[in-house]
Structure formats: structure tokens, C-alpha cells
């Protein structure tokens, strides 16, 4: 018979009522059950509507917004081609009998709008009917198919509900409804064999029976069912005749964007069944569609109590991975069957799988906002101003640092043995003490997706183990630490670069050009990735910039090292009365408790809050892959 672990016992009862074999059932079943008890679901209506949808839905029903998002515009012919028969064909070819149903397609198809609401409110009833219709249609299309195989496996997996619920907003009214939540998978249990049918045999007369699961429990028959025997407490479970299903428990945790200030992330338990087991791994960002459940905490043997406390979890119906990098995705596609079906289905539904999947790591509204920003010609100035707003002026430096934060495109040449071309730029700030170099460094450090902030004084480049020593000159305690490996794929900010030891600097040579670190330890030479860009700050040779010396003499750094920095800024502490005054007013303004006074600065440009800026940088780093057009290339050649 047909059974889905994710839908629960009521669904099972319903599907058994619908009949085991669609071919027979279609002739007689609708007469018996018209309306499912306690709901407004009319079985006949649901079946007809869904069948109509399956046969006649075409891409042109999709709302125009998402149609324009797809990469290639479709011809009229494609637009009028029904989607789902093609998917059934694909199911037949691939023998993966799961249909990922985009709920937005249901909503977009005028006759099925009510069905969408019913799906969300009564998933336990509606989904089995959908399964039933799917099986029926499949058998119509492929009458020669192996009915037994098909019947047990054809599943509709709805996804892409109109709204995703915030985990902390799930409340009692959502129980037994279909919900969609987003978060990060933080833990998964091992696969648990979950008994779905117990097979029992009477010890006396060998009478046998199977018992299905009811509210999480399989009740052992109290009495032998054989009217000739009727012995009590003589029925025994036979393990190898019972049936088991895969089940897995996982925890989904809120992502930082949705956590209110001062709160810690909430988590929710997911129960995944069968094909969805092990589809996602800890660390993946997911959008999970499923049924929200509440069950009593204690399975109390005594039935004479009202159980007060219930715990909640989500029975997962569909898993969608969000925001994977391109490389990882293509690798994963070959491995995960369920995922492959998701992607295949989406392509067939007329959307670019890439575009869809990537955009979703960021909320659509956020992406739209970012894209609006990107069109603003003042963008660069606005962002530069928003970087470390507490530091006054120094706009050019801020622009340089922004470029560093965005990073470039790393390129790996196909030719074997070719060097990797680094995409990140290194920046050096040289200047008088007290011109906020350190603050600038820490601002960048806090914005970068990953990064380490360290002081050149007493830092060793490899390893994290640190040592406390006494500085021979001042007799003060000094901390020795290492940093580079930890800032792979980020920004390594090194303060007091001029005070760094020769040996450590030589390691930097390698990092800045090859983006690797070679470690020779215990006879093994290994090379670790350190694909970071370096942001260094240094003081001039006599701690104060000497106008009488040349730039190189002032810098106090070996020229070979300086040449590895792509941008060098010389920041001088000059005297300019008006500037000084404005700066002082700015600083004093920060100290007024009344924050509005500080905010109404005399700039015309809008300010981007730090969190938004971080998100924007993360977004740009991940999704924007600029290419040099021919014209741009020509312009560059010309300029050179």
C-alpha cells in the first residue's frame, strides 16, 4: 500500500480509503467519501482541479515577474507547452518517482487557486489525493509501467509557498498546516530505522496480523484474532516481517538576519523521511517545506491523564538548498538524487536553475534592494562614506579598502602547472601616528566575511599557538600570535607592519604572490591555502613622516615587499584649521546621548548601516562575477 512517513496516520487512512489500485478505484471511490471529516475539502473537487492543473498548466500562466527572471525568453510554442506531462516523461526516464510541485504554479493557475489554500491548510488530506492523481495520470501515460513499483513511490513534494514563516513565529495555530521555514542545518542524527508496520504472530495458533503506526506507537494486539484461539497476551512481534522506513532527526537554526537584537537563534526539530534523509548536510542553508506538528512529550502508559506539555517539530515534505556556490552545486548535482530532481524540475518549469537557487540565499526583497543600489551612480561614494563612518574624511583610502573588500575574480588557468592568478588586492597604509590607521583596519576587519586582525609586533606567521614573553626593552609582557591561515578567503589586517620581523615578512612574500603558505615541520613540507588579501598599516621610518626624505626612504620597508602591494596610501597628519574644526565637532557630536543630533551630519549622501554593507559585500563577493568586455579590454590596453 501507499504510505508516506511525512504525512502521518490520517493521511494513511485516507489513502487506504482511496483504494489500493487507482484503476479499480477510479470507477467507484468518489461516492463513498465526499468531504473529509472536519475540513472543507471535497475529495472530488480536489482530484478534478489537480488533474486539470497537471494536464493544462503551461509556463505562460506564470506571473510575468518570474518569467522575466529566467535566462532565456521562451518562444510562444514553449509557453503553451503543458509543463507536467513533460515532467512525467522525465520521471519515467529517470525512474525517480517524485514530483516537486512548485506551489506558485498552483497559485498562478486560475482554477487551482483554492487548491493552494487547501494544500496549506489541510496538507495531510490534500497531498495524498495529489499523489493519487499523479499515480493515475502516470499510469494513463505509461500503462505498461510496473504498477507495484510505481504505486508505492509516486510522491508529490510541494515547495515554494507564498510566504516563509519565521521560526520564532511558528505558533499553535500552525499545527498540522503546511509551513515553510528557512535556516541553517546544524545537526543531523544518523539514519534511524523507523518501524512503520509491525508484523505479529500468535504463539499458539500461528495467526498473523500487521499493525500500522498510530500517533507514534504500534499497539501490540492484546488478544489473538483467530476466533478459534482467542488467547490473551500471546502475540509476538516478528522483526524480519515488519517493515521499516528511514527516518532522520535534524536541527534547523535561524540565520542571523532574522534574529531580533539581543536574542539568540531559535532552532526547530526536523524529521525527514525516506528519500529526503541525508539530502542536506550540516552547514547548509535550507528552505524546508513541511507540516508543523505537536505531540505530547511524555508517552505516558497511563491513559487517565491529560498531558500538558507538547513538543513541536516539522515533518519535512521538501528540502531546498539555498545559496551554494556554483562549484559546489555542480558537484552535488551528480550525487544527490532528490536534488537532481529538484533542479531538473525547475528547469522544466521554465526557470533558470542557477538564478533561482542563488538568489534565494538572500531574500528577494534584499536582492532587489541591492540591485537598485547597483544602478545608483553615486553607489561608490555612498559605500565609501558608509565604511567606518566614525573616521572622518580619508575618502580615497576608504575607496581603496572597499575595492579590496569586494575582491576580484580568482582565475585558474586550464593549462596544467600554470600559476593561479590572484584576484585579491593588497593594500598598504603608511602614515603618521594617530591618523586612524588602526581604526580603518579594524573597520575592514569587521566588514570582511572572514578575517584576522593582528599586530605586526611579535606575530609569527604560522600556527595559532601563542607564547607570552617579556619584551627585553620594556620588561612588559608581549603576546606572540599567528594569523594568516585563519584568514583564508578573507582579509588579513596587520597593524604595525614595519615592526614585523624579517622572517615573518618573508612568509608574506609567498602569501601575497602565490596565496599559499609553505610549512616545513617534522620533515614534511606542505603548502596551505592562504587566499587572503593583506591590509597592512605601517609607520614611517622615524615614526613621523619626514618631508626631507623620499617616499622610499620614509617607508622603511624592503622595496620587494612594497612592490607586492597593489595600492599604497600615504596618510599624513596635516594641519588644516577648518578640517580640524569639523573633525572635532564630528567627534564631540558622537558623545551626545541624543543620537539624532549625531546622525544629522552635513552630508547629502545617504548612509548605509554597517550590517547592510556587510551583506552587500557578501552578496557581491558571491554572486557578481564581472567579465572584461572587449571594449573594456580595449580601453585598458589603450590606457596602458
Amino acid at each position: 500500500g501507499h504510505r508516506r512517513g511525512d504525512l502521518g496516520s490520517r493521511a494513511q487512512a485516507l489513502s487506504s480509503e482511496l483504494g489500493d489500485r487507482p484503476s479499480e478505484a477510479s470507477t467507484q471511490q468518489p461516492k463513498e467519501i465526499r468531504t473529509i471529516w472536519g475540513t472543507i475539502v471535497h475529495v472530488r473537487d480536489v482530484m478534478n482541479t489537480f488533474k486539470d492543473f497537471m494536464l493544462h498548466f503551461t509556463p505562460k500562466h506564470r506571473p510575468p515577474a518570474s518569467a522575466s527572471a529566467s535566462s532565456a525568453p521562451m518562444s510562444d510554442e514553449e509557453l503553451n507547452e503543458p509543463v507536467y506531462p513533460a515532467l512525467l516523461r522525465r520521471m519515467h526516464d529517470s525512474e525517480i518517482f517524485q514530483l516537486n510541485l512548485d506551489a506558485q504554479n498552483l497559485r498562478a493557475y486560475p482554477p487551482a487557486q483554492g487548491l493552494y489554500r487547501q494544500l496549506v491548510n489541510y496538507p495531510e488530506e490534500v497531498v495524498p489525493i495529489m499523489d493519487y492523481v499523479l499515480t493515475e495520470l502516470y499510469l494513463e501515460q505509461y500503462p505498461e509501467a510496473d504498477v507495484d513499483l510505481v504505486q508505492s513511490d509516486l510522491k508529490v513534494r510541494p515547495y515554494n509557498l507564498s510566504s516563509t514563516t519565521n521560526m520564532r513565529d511558528l505558533n499553535p495555530s500552525d499545527i498540522d498546516k503546511m509551513v515553510s521555514v528557512r535556516g541553517m542545518l546544524i545537526r543531523s542524527s544518523s539514519v534511524i530505522p523507523d518501524m512503520e508496520r509491525g508484523f505479529f504472530r500468535c504463539l499458539h495458533c500461528d495467526w498473523t496480523t500487521t499493525v500500522g503506526i498510530d500517533r507514534g506507537v504500534i499497539n501490540e494486539p492484546q488478544q489473538c484474532g483467530n476466533s478459534a484461539c482467542l488467547q490473551k497476551e500471546c502475540v509476538e512481534l516478528v522483526h524480519n516481517r515488519s517493515t521499516f522506513a528511514d527516518k532522520q532527526l535534524s536541527r534547523l537554526q535561524e540565520t542571523p538576519e532574522v534574529i531580533p537584537d539581543g536574542q539568540t537563534p531559535h532552532t526547530v526539530t526536523l524529521v525527514t523521511h525516506d528519500e529526503l534523509v541525508d539530502v542536506a548536510k550540516p552547514g547548509d542553508r535550507l528552505e524546508v517545506t513541511g507540516i508543523y506538528r505537536g505531540v505530547p512529550v511524555r508517552t505516558n502508559p497511563r491513559n487517565r491523564t491529560v498531558q500538558a506539555i507538547y513538543r513541536t517539530y516539522i515533518d519535512v515534505v521538501h528540502v531546498r538548498r539555498l545559496g551554494r556556490s556554483r562549484v559546489q552545486r555542480s558537484a552535488a548535482e551528480g550525487l544527490d538524487i532528490a536534488d537532481a530532481v529538484v533542479d531538473a524540475q525547475r528547469e522544466a518549469a521554465g526557470q533558470s536553475a542557477d538564478g533561482q537557487d542563488e538568489a534565494t540565499a538572500f531574500a528577494p526583497a534584499e536582492v532587489a534592494e541591492f540591485q537598485r543600489w547597483a544602478r545608483d551612480p553615486r553607489l561608490f561614494s555612498i559605500l565609501a562614506q558608509s565604511l567606518a563612518p566614525s573616521i572622518y574624511e580619508l575618502d580615497d583610502v576608504k575607496r581603496g579598502l572597499l575595492l579590496q573588500l569586494f575582491g576580484g575574480v580568482r582565475k585558474q588557468f586550464a593549462r596544467a602547472g600554470a600559476p593561479r592568478s590572484r584576484g585579491d588586492i593588497n593594500v598598504l597604509l603608511v602614515g603618521d601616528p594617530g591618523v586612524s590607521k588602526s581604526q580603518m583596519l579594524s573597520a575592514v576587519h569587521s566588514l570582511a566575511p572572514r578575517g584576522i586582525y593582528t599586530s605586526g609586533k611579535g606575530s609569527s606567521a604560522v600556527g595559532l599557538t601563542a607564547y607570552v614573553t617579556r619584551d627585553p626593552d620594556t620588561r612588559q609582557l608581549v603576546l606572540e600570535s599567528g594569523a594568516l591561515v585563519l584568514s583564508d578567503d578573507g582579509v588579513c589586517a596587520i597593524d604595525e607592519f614595519d615592526k614585523m620581523s624579517e622572517a615573518t615578512r618573508s612568509v608574506l612574500h609567498e602569501v601575497m604572490e602565490q596565496q599559499t603558505i609553505s610549512i616545513a615541520k617534522a620533515g614534511i613540507i606542505t603548502s596551505l591555502n592562504a587566499r587572503c588579501s593583506i591590509l597592512a598599516a605601517a609607520n614611517p621610518v622615524n615614526s613621523k613622516w619626514d618631508k626631507n626624505l623620499s617616499i622610499v626612504e620614509n617607508m622603511n620597508l624592503p622595496p620587494t615587499l612594497v612592490s607586492r602591494f597593489d595600492l599604497v596610501f600615504i596618510v599624513l597628519d596635516t594641519v588644516d584649521e577648518t578640517m580640524d574644526r569639523r573633525l572635532a565637532r564630528h567627534i564631540v557630536g558622537l558623545y551626545t546621548d541624543d543620537t539624532t543630533a549625531a546622525a544629522q551630519a552635513d552630508d547629502a549622501l545617504p548612509m548605509v548601516p554597517t550590517e547592510k554593507l556587510t551583506r552587500y559585500i557578501a552578496y557581491a563577493r558571491r554572486y557578481v562575477r564581472p567579465i572584461i568586455t572587449d571594449e573594456a579590454a580595449a580601453a585598458l590596453v589603450q590606457a596602458y
Binding site: A308, Y392, G434, S446, Y467, V478, T578, R585
Partner: protein, 599 residues
């Protein structure tokens, strides 16, 4: 009760001893007054309960009659299940779990068809149903409510004077069966179940309870402090799901919160009237004198210590202003053998002396000895890598004074964990953020902690301000022994209370800078820089300006002035000049006195 008239006092004592009875009665009333079609609305009913309790407890003296739960009062083991308690606590883990609660269940009698509703709110206990009745699970009258469960601990570092006081006699649990552990009194080992990993200061005595918020009017904030009033019960933890043996569970101290209130200055110093306007100056001078005595007569250090005690962090744009971590240099080094083994108490008599004196003045302070073993073995950042949010040393309530003793730091290896710990402390000092290490996504939380570093030489941590103690002060501190500390006359209680109140009030004062003063400061800054440039001296930097403005702000509020005056600004300039001079002199003198003979 013998007499027929029910007095308020009777009502209060019933509230305290049998709150569930009161609530049941309120529910019956409530049921009678509402229409039955849509069933009782639990939120509305919770409000009714809360109003009733708050109303009765606002009567004078009523609040103090509620017994206090938890450390340091020794009656935690003896609190009776089902009685009303107060708990002054810090929310360690606000997402300890969510529970759905069947608060109103519709019962139906299968024989007669009768229906009735049973109510179980503010308790986790299952309802026992009489024979013949069954729960009607399909009924729309069943009410499910959602509860936030937070793991709350006694506030780390809360000083004894700032704990809750109570006039209530200990309520002995006559049933006995609900108690766990031995029944002997006062010993920490007898406290109910606590999770050691969820208390910031590992190894220190504390108590903890699962607080269940029934009407989440305001979501509990992580590391927030509240006074909870609620019903005590030994309940079960949402983290212990799935266990089949019911008897093994349900032994966690739980408090079903009826209402929560903030800890205000009035609850800390209840006996003092609000000070009048001019009183600030007097209190300020008294505090300065006292701090001067503590620091061996170093007036400058006393000034800076006062400013430090008054500091509070405010986030403006991307910067935190107002923070003022202080490093007092010149404490005697403690010898290696004095080092405590991985606990959070100070060992050296001098640092313990200062810390003990400050404990009398601020509501909470935490001592962190920088002893390599302690730093290497403890975790400073809270971490949820294991699935459960475990506390770190720095998961502290806002306004906690952290006293770091660097005099016990000696040469040796700081391992990876120790390094991370120091970095965490450094980011508290510089950014006032504590990172909660959640799997795959660490979360930065803004915090508001004051860090005071006591060291022999300049600290390895970067602080907002450092000050070398005068030689007399250093000599005084070096001469302190445990015996001599006892002979010092502490302040009389009245004055102690006054200083406490003064510090709390001044710290939370609103502050602004008038435009004229702001302009004057700008002019002065520009002029100073020009002069220095002409003379070829070192020019004042942005950072120095920021520090002076911070000092000026703190001086202003220490005098009770809500606006910065030019007088305070001048005072700040003078104070900073003195400090810089003192530091330069001390730095020049120091290597000569403490230089290594081998050099």
C-alpha cells in the same frame, strides 16, 4: 480562618502559599464571564492573572513576603513545589526551548455526554482524569498556548548587598517526596539540579531555574537581568525529550513566571530618598575621598577610578562611545606559588583589597585572574557548538564590573584556547561585543561591561586609558597583607548606600553637548594642533581628542550636570595633562628601578 472578614494580609499569604488555588478561582470567574463559543483566550486570561498578582503585591511589605529562590539564600532545596517565589536572575539561554502547552482541555464523559473544561496553567503536571471522562482532542475549546523557556542563573558576580532580601520564613516542604538530594541545610551540594556548563563562572556557587514565560509580553533577552515572580515547581526540561522513563525526568527547578520586573536603583537601595539636585557634588567628593583611601592616597587615580565606575557604553553609528576601560599600573607582582588553581577569585592581597572595596560599591563585579592555567582552561565566549548554549566567562549581565588581575600572569605558553580567550576579552574592551559561538554562524552581541585591569607593568590588553599609580600608592598596595586589610575601617553603612545610589543614578544620566561648547572645543583643538605644528611638537590626534571628550563627559555626569560645560571640559584637559605627565615620568623611572640585572 476564624474571622469572616478577609484582610489583604490574608489574601497575600494565600497568594504566597497557594498561588494555584488563587489562579484556579480566577479561572472559574473568567470562564463564567466569557462566552463559550470561541473558548477562553489564554493571553487575555494571563493578563488577568498578572494584574491580580501585581495588584495585591503592590501593597506595602507584600513583595518582601515572597520567599526568595536561589543562591545565596540557603532555602533553595526547601522551596515548596507550587509556592510563589522571587528569583533575581540573568537570562543565560533565552531559547532553551519552546513548549506547547495544553492549557485548557475539553473533557467529555463517554457515558453521559457531559462536557467540562479542565485548566492547567502555570504548571507542568499532567491532569488526572476521573473514570469515565476522556479528552476530546477534536474540540475547538482546547487551548494550546506557546511558552518560551529560558534557562536563568543567579546573576554572576552579583554582590551580596544587591541580592534580593526577604522577610519570609523558609517554607518547609512537608511532602518531602518532591525534593531531591540530601536534606541537610545550607550546603551547595544540596542545591537542585543545575547545569554547571551553563554558568559563566565555572566552579562558583550559584543556582539556576528554567523560567517559563507564559505571556511573552517582552521576549527575554540573552544576558538580561530580571526579577521573576512565579510559581516554583520541579518540572522537566525541554532538552530531555524522548526519554521513556517519566520518573527520571521532571526534576529540574522550574519557575512559571507570572510577571517579571526590572532591577531598578530603587530596589537596590530601597531605604534612601532620591537625592536633591545639589547633592551630587557632595556625594562625588565623598566617593573621591573613599576611593583615594582605597588607593593609598592617590588622588589622580581616585579621579580616574570614579570616572571608570561611571562609564556606560552607547552605540553611535559604528562606534561605541562612552566606554572607559582603565588600566591601573603599579600593583605588586604576585609570586607564582600564590596563584589559585583555575578559579575566579583573586589571590594577591593588593588586588583582592581593591576588588573587595569595589564590591561594596557596584551591584556586580567579576574577578578574572590572568593566571595562565585559568586562561588556558576556561572558555570566555559562550558556545553552542554542542547544541546547548554553554556559558562563557564573558556572558555577563550589563553593567558588570570586570576586574582583571594581571599581577599573577607569568611567562609560559598560552595555548589556542587561551589566546582566543584573551582576544575575546580584548574585543569586549574595544568593541563592547561578545561573540556567541553558534555552529556555522557566530553571532556578535552588544554588551555593556566595564573592564578594570590591575597590573604591574602596562597591560597586554589595550585599554581606553592607562594610569601609573603614584609611588606612595604603589608602596601602600605592596604593603597590604590580608591582616592589614581587615584593620581598615570600612565606610559606615549609610555612606556606602549613598555612594551606591550616586553611582547608579549618575551612570544612567542623559547627557548632551551644547553647540557653544562643541564649537569652543573644535576651536581649541584646531588651535592646539596649529601651535604644536608651529613648535614642531607632537600634535593632538583624533584618538586623544576622543579620550578627552569621554573624560569630560564622565566628569560632567559625576557632578550631576546633564550638559557639558566649559568648566568640565577644562577640568578634563587638566586631568588628562596630569595623567600624561605622570605616565611619562613613571615610564622614565620604571626601567631603572625594575630593570633586569642581567641587562
Amino acid at each position: 480562618m476564624a474571622n469572616n472578614t478577609i484582610t489583604t494580609a490574608d489574601l497575600v499569604s494565600e497568594l504566597v502559599s497557594a498561588p494555584m488555588k488563587v489562579i484556579d478561582r480566577l479561572f472559574d470567574n473568567y470562564k463564567a464571564t466569557t462566552t463559550t463559543d470561541d473558548g477562553p483566550k489564554s493571553r487575555e486570561f494571563n493578563q488577568t492573572v498578572q494584574d491580580h498578582f501585581q495588584g495585591l503585591l503592590s501593597k506595602p511589605g507584600a513583595f518582601e513576603r515572597i520567599p526568595v529562590f536561589g543562591y545565596p539564600s540557603s532555602n533553595a532545596t526547601k522551596t515548596k513545589s507550587g509556592s510563589l517565589v522571587r528569583f533575581r536572575c540573568m537570562v543565560q539561554d533565552p531559547s532553551y526551548g519552546e513548549e506547547l502547552h495544553l492549557s485548557v482541555a475539553q473533557l467529555v464523559n463517554s457515558a453521559t455526554g457531559e462536557t467540562k473544561q479542565v485548566f492547567s496553567h502555570y504548571t507542568d503536571a499532567d491532569h488526572v482524569i476521573e473514570e469515565g471522562w476522556e479528552v476530546d482532542y477534536g474540540s475547538p475549546s482546547n487551548v494550546f498556548t506557546e511558552r518560551d523557556v529560558a534557562y536563568c542563573v543567579s546573576i554572576p558576580g552579583q554582590n551580596e548587598w544587591a541580592q534580593l532580601g526577604s522577610s519570609a520564613a523558609v517554607l518547609e516542604d512537608t511532602l518531602g517526596s518532591l525534593n531531591i538530594g540530601a536534606q541537610s541545610t545550607g550546603e551547595s551540594s544540596d542545591l537542585p539540579l543545575v547545569d554547571e556548563k551553563k554558568y559563566p563562572l565555572r566552579g562558583c556557587e550559584h543556582s539556576a531555574a528554567l523560567v517559563k514565560f507564559h505571556s511573552p509580553g517582552r521576549a527575554p533577552q540573552v544576558a538580561g537581568t530580571v526579577d521573576v515572580v512565579g510559581i516554583y515547581e520541579l518540572g522537566h526540561s525541554p532538552k530531555e525529550q524522548g526519554g521513556s522513563d517519566a520518573s527520571a525526568q521532571g526534576r529540574w527547578p522550574c519557575i512559571h513566571a507570572i510577571f517579571v520586573c526590572d532591577i531598578t536603583v530603587d530596589t537596590l537601595v530601597p531605604d534612601l530618598p532620591q537625592p536633591v539636585a545639589g547633592e551630587h557634588i557632595g556625594r562625588r567628593n565623598m566617593t573621591l575621598v573613599h576611593l583615594g583611601l582605597v588607593l593609598g592616597g592617590d588622588d589622580l587615580a581616585a579621579h580616574y577610578l570614579l570616572l571608570h565606575l561611571l562609564s556606560k557604553t552607547v552605540a553611535v553609528q559604528d562606534v561605541k562611545v562612552g566606554k572607559f576601560s582603565l588600566n591601573l599600573v603599579g600593583f605588586p607582582l604576585s609570586s607564582k606559588d600564590q596563584a589559585p588553581a583555575g578559579t575566579f577569585t583573586l589571590s594577591s592581597p593588593a588586588t583582592r583589597w581593591v576588588s573587595g572595596m569595589l564590591a561594596q560599591l557596584v551591584p556586580r563585579c567579576v574577578e578574572i585572574p590572568f593566571e595562565l592555567k585559568t586562561v588556558n582552561s576556561s572558555t570566555f565566549l559562550p558556545s553552542a557548538e554542542s547544541g546547548d548554549l554553554q556559558a562563557g566567562v564573558l556572558q555577563l549581565a550589563a553593567d558588570t564590573e570586570i576586574i582583571c588581575d594581571e599581577t599573577c600572569l607569568h611567562e609560559g605558553t598560552l595555548d589556542e584556547r587561551g589566546l582566543r580567550n584573551l582576544q575575546a576579552l580584548q574585543s569586549v574592551i574595544l568593541d563592547q561585543t561578545v561573540t556567541y559561538v553558534y555552529p556555522f554562524q557566530p553571532i556578535n552581541m552588544a554588551t555593556n561591561l566595564r573592564v578594570l585591569v590591575l597590573s604591574n607593568g602596562k597591560s597586554i590588553l589595550e585599554n581606553d586609558c592607562d594610569l601609573y599609580l603614584s609611588e606612595t600608592a604603589a608602596a601602600f598596595l605592596a604593603s597590604i597583607h590580608d591582616e592589614s586589610a581587615a584593620s581598615f575601617m570600612p565606610l559606615d553603612p549609610m555612606h556606602t548606600e549613598q555612594i551606591r545610589q550616586y553611582l547608579e543614578l549618575a551612570r544612567h544620566m542623559e547627557f548632551s553637548v551644547p553647540t557653544e561648547v562643541s564649537n569652543a572645543i573644535s576651536d581649541e583643538y584646531a588651535a592646539l594642533r596649529r601651535e604644536a605644528h608651529e613648535k614642531g611638537e607632537k600634535m593632538m590626534t583624533q584618538a586623544e581628542l576622543s579620550l578627552i571628550v569621554t573624560v569630560a563627559r564622565l566628569i560632567s555626569i559625576s557632578k550631576g550636570e546633564p550638559e557639558l560645560t566649559s568648566a568640565s571640559w577644562k577640568e578634563a584637559m587638566a586631568l588628562e595633562a596630569r595623567r600624561v605627565e605622570r605616565n611619562t615620568q613613571a615610564k622614565a623611572a620604571r626601567p631603572a628601578t625594575s630593570a633586569d640585572p642581567s641587562k
